[in-house]
């Protein structure tokens, strides 16, 4: 299911390369398929298109954690934390704080 979903959203992104929501959905499909190395650049592209995209930051950080890249994940999570506070989103904030605590200082 996840693989066919990845293929579907890859096609959509090829047809509409400027479609940031499609890009985010492809990135999430890759994340859910545990294809974290491919998910990272897609989340990054979604963030490049929309720099205040909170959940793209959260999933980018989670993908980096899965790849064992703790230090860049902390940088992304700190930016995500700022965005969560600016946008008044309490639920992602709790998740971000948990992740930051797991990754240590």
């Amino acid at each position: 299911m996840n693989e066919s979903r990845v293929d579907k959203w890859k096609q959509v992104c090829e047809q509409r390369p400027q479609d940031e929501l499609a890009r985010f959905t492809l990135a999430k499909a890759l994340y859910e398929a545990e294809r974290f190395e491919e998910a990272v650049p897609e989340f990054q592209r979604a963030i490049d298109a929309k720099p205040d995209w909170l959940m793209a930051h959260v999933f980018l950080a989670k993908s980096l954690v899965e790849l064992g890249q703790g230090a860049p994940a902390v940088v992304v999570l700190k930016r995500a934390r700022e965005l969560a506070l600016e946008q008044d989103h309490s639920e992602p904030l709790a998740e971000i704080d948990d992740l930051l605590e797991e990754l240590g200082p």
Binding site: M1, N2, R5, V12, L21, A22, F24, T25, K28, A29, E32, W53, L54, M55, Q87, H89, E91, P92
Partner: protein, 191 residues
């Protein structure tokens, strides 16, 4: 109260109990498996479509069917993309018709509201709610408002029919995901 009155009450209660027992034996579900209706707001006469479907999965899994794009595009539209957070975008594409909007409320894993506008159409809010029921969950949908005129009524009726169809597809999709082989059999050896 006379003996005859007591007998009448006992007869009626017995009949009711038997009727309920028979209904439950034939259909263990607590409510209709699926329904949809157009309702009118008492104050404004604007129409709303209310619909619900019973799904034989736990509420948290029912939530997935309304909050994950990979589940939604199995029953609601050919292409569904969304970011489930207040203010997050929602886009549905079906037969080339694009409906876009944003998520106006989220109370995971219980309820979510989308503010949508079809291309050239009026703004509407679709609210989903998940409620636990015996052996599964019920997904409630509320869409509106539709104007209190003949055109609004016709649109609401069409949407009622479409929600009915979509919820049928949802139930079928949920069923497809259920195990079709014995899982933990009562006839396997006890640990």
């Amino acid at each position: 109260m006379t003996l005859r009155a007591y007998a009448a009450i006992a007869f009626l209660c017995g009949g009711l109990t038997a009727c309920l027992a028979r209904t439950r034996a034939e259909d263990p579900l607590p409510g209709p498996q699926q329904d949809a209706a157009v309702v009118a707001d008492a104050a404004t006469s604007e129409r709303r479509v209310v619909a619900s479907a019973y799904v034989p999965v736990p509420p948290w899994e029912a939530w997935d069917w309304i909050a994950s794009s990979d589940r939604l595009d199995q029953w609601l539209a050919q292409e569904v993309a969304l970011d489930v957070i207040v203010g997050g975008p929602v886009r549905l594409v079906s037969d080339g018709v694009v409906t876009e909007g944003s998520i106006s409320a989220v109370d995971e894993p219980t309820s979510m509201a989308w503010s949508l506008s079809a291309s050239g159409g009026a703004q509407r809010v679709v609210t989903f709610r998940v409620s636990g029921e015996i052996g599964g969950a019920r997904i409630y949908v509320d869409e509106g408002p539709f104007p209190a005129d003949a055109a609004g009524e016709a649109t609401a009726v069409a949407h009622r029919r479409r929600w009915n169809q979509a919820l049928s597809v949802l139930r079928a999709a949920v069923m497809r995901g259920l195990p079709t082989e014995p899982q933990e059999s009562p006839f396997t050896a006890a640990p």
